[in-house]
């Protein structure tokens, strides 16, 4: 596109796609067949990856970007946006994903980090990025690096919502506190959050993150989706929770309906019926690796 009157890859356009995904469910899929099930069920986007987090956790070893051929197969299978994951700091993987034409890159702690100090310089890309965060400081650092969507990390692949709740409450609780701070206190907040002052000032003024905030990590039921939406998430990512459950298609659809009707318990009780077993869950104390600890 050489038309100089058209500007691509701007913050507005990148954050704009995140706006369009609000109120929706982004589902992890490992092949075109799963991608079609997800789209049929009303997913607002799919995340293309080779193994869902529960399998990555079980298999161990180094988890990397997916095979481009597999990502292209999923792109061709659906009409909704396709996201894919790059390792933290692995800008070469992100460059490949951008050249494949994926709609969003997830610089994800679910994959094995490639850089122990630096995240990707996301300003250098046309494709938008989503990054995980466990607290407000981490969220603002990712935004300062150019992330256009934040997802609370939770603990992927566990089917256990407790970490997602901890991270959401931490981010939203600190946002509330920052809005109560006076001008002088904001300098101290920036120092404590290890985040750029202008972003802290923006949060204080608007009462929200500068980019949309979604929730990920441990969502396995319609009630989980409702819980995190009521806590303030603007959309949900479901990783292992759908395709590691007994009967993925109806569960996927139920989670989509629950995300739309998150504040309507009668509707939630209707969509939660007869879904079969959710994915097997894991106690956090039993984990060898905490994925959420990855990222700096």
């Amino acid at each position: 596109m050489n038309d100089v009157t058209k500007a691509t890859g701007t913050q507005l356009v990148k954050r704009g796609l995140a706006e369009m995904l609000k109120g929706g469910v982004i589902m992890d899929v490992v092949d075109p067949a799963q991608a079609r099930i997800a789209e049929d069920a009303g997913a607002s986007a799919v995340m293309a990856l080779e193994r869902v987090p529960a399998d990555i956790r079980r298999d161990g070893g180094v988890a990397r970007m997916s095979d481009p051929e597999m990502i292209e197969g999923i792109k061709e299978a659906v009409t909704i946006p396709v996201m894919a994951k790059a390792r933290i700091g692995h800008f070469a993987e992100a460059q490949i994903l951008q050249s494949l034409g994926v709609d969003y890159v997830d610089e994800s702690e679910v994959l094995t980090p490639a850089d122990e100090a630096h995240h990707i310089d996301k300003w250098a890309f046309t494709v938008p990025f989503v990054c995980g965060a466990t607290n407000l400081g981490e969220a603002l650092r990712r935004i300062s690096e150019g992330a256009c969507m934040i997802r609370s990390k939770g603990e992927a692949g566990t089917g256990n919502i407790v970490e997602a709740v901890r991270h959401l409450r931490s981010i939203i609780g600190d946002i509330r506190k920052v809005t109560q701070a006076d001008e002088a206190e904001l300098f101290d907040w920036a120092k404590r959050l290890q985040s750029p002052l202008p972003l802290v000032q923006e949060v204080a003024e608007t009462g929200e993150l500068p980019v949309p905030m979604f929730c990920a990590g441990g969502i396995a039921t319609p009630a989980d989706a409702s819980l995190v939406m009521q806590l303030g998430a603007q959309a949900v990512f479901v990783g292992s929770g759908i395709f590691k459950s007994d009967d993925p298609a109806p569960r996927a659809r139920a989670i989509v309906e629950a995300t739309t009707n998150f504040a309507d318990p009668a509707m939630l009780s209707k969509v939660s019926r007869g879904l079969g077993d959710a994915m097997p869950g894991l106690e956090l104390g039993s984990l060898e690796t905490r994925l959420a600890d990855r990222g700096w």
């Binding site: 038309d3 058209k6 691509t8 704009g16 706006e19 069920a41 951008q98 709609d103």
Partner: protein, 191 residues
């Protein structure tokens, strides 16, 4: 004026903010009872496949179609334009539209997200250009005789009006400029 904003999925909150700024009263619409006393409606951007599924599961499809048939003023942006069009190309085999404005549209007609763009638009009836934000936007392939084209990009219509139905392939709720929503509210008031 009560303006229903279809709140099944997508950028409905942004539309509600613009409507409040213009003095209208937005009502989030998720089920048929929410439609009862709205005077006009906005179908926001988001994923049209998701909204289409939820229009069926919520029981909203028929009541919305009935209100459209009775001439309820309606504004559809991006996915909302897709839902209001007559025919849809490159959609899903099972996707249905309301056929409230005589247009054929093609989903993601401008390409993928990396092709999403911003551009200043000349809009009929506005003195100054309007900043258009196009996100995985649909392209209009055919325009019916009764449709008035209010703005174009590369000769393709991006803002259209037929009777009480207005549609845009871009996102006026994203540019911090209320003029297009104001125009829709004028249309609804006159109705």
């Amino acid at each position: 004026m009560k303006v229903g904003v279809l709140a099944l999925q997508g950028a409905f909150a942004r539309h509600a903010q613009v409507l409040v700024a213009l003095g209208a009263a937005p009502v989030e619409v998720r089920c048929p009872v929410d439609l009862a006393d709205v005077d006009a409606m906005v179908l926001p951007g988001g994923e049209s496949t998701t909204m289409s599924m939820l229009l069926d599961s919520s029981g909203l499809r028929q009541p919305v179609a009935d209100r459209l048939a009775k001439g309820m003023p309606t504004f559809g942006t991006c996915a909302g334009m897709i839902l209001l069009a007559t025919r849809l190309a490159d959609g899903r085999y099972d996707q249905r539209s309301f056929g409230a404005i005589d247009l054929d549209v093609r989903r993601n007609g401008y390409g993928r997200q990396i092709d999403s763009f911003e551009k200043d638009l000349v809009v009929a009836g506005l003195d100054e250009t309007f900043h258009g934000v196009f996100i995985r936007a649909p392209v209009v392939d055919r325009v019916g005789d009764d449709v008035e084209v209010l703005a174009t990009v590369d000769e393709a219509p991006v803002l259209c009006l037929q009777g009480t139905v207005m549609v845009s392939s871009f996102h006026p709720e994203m540019s911090g400029d209320t003029r297009i929503h104001a125009r829709f509210l004028d249309l609804a008031f006159d109705h």
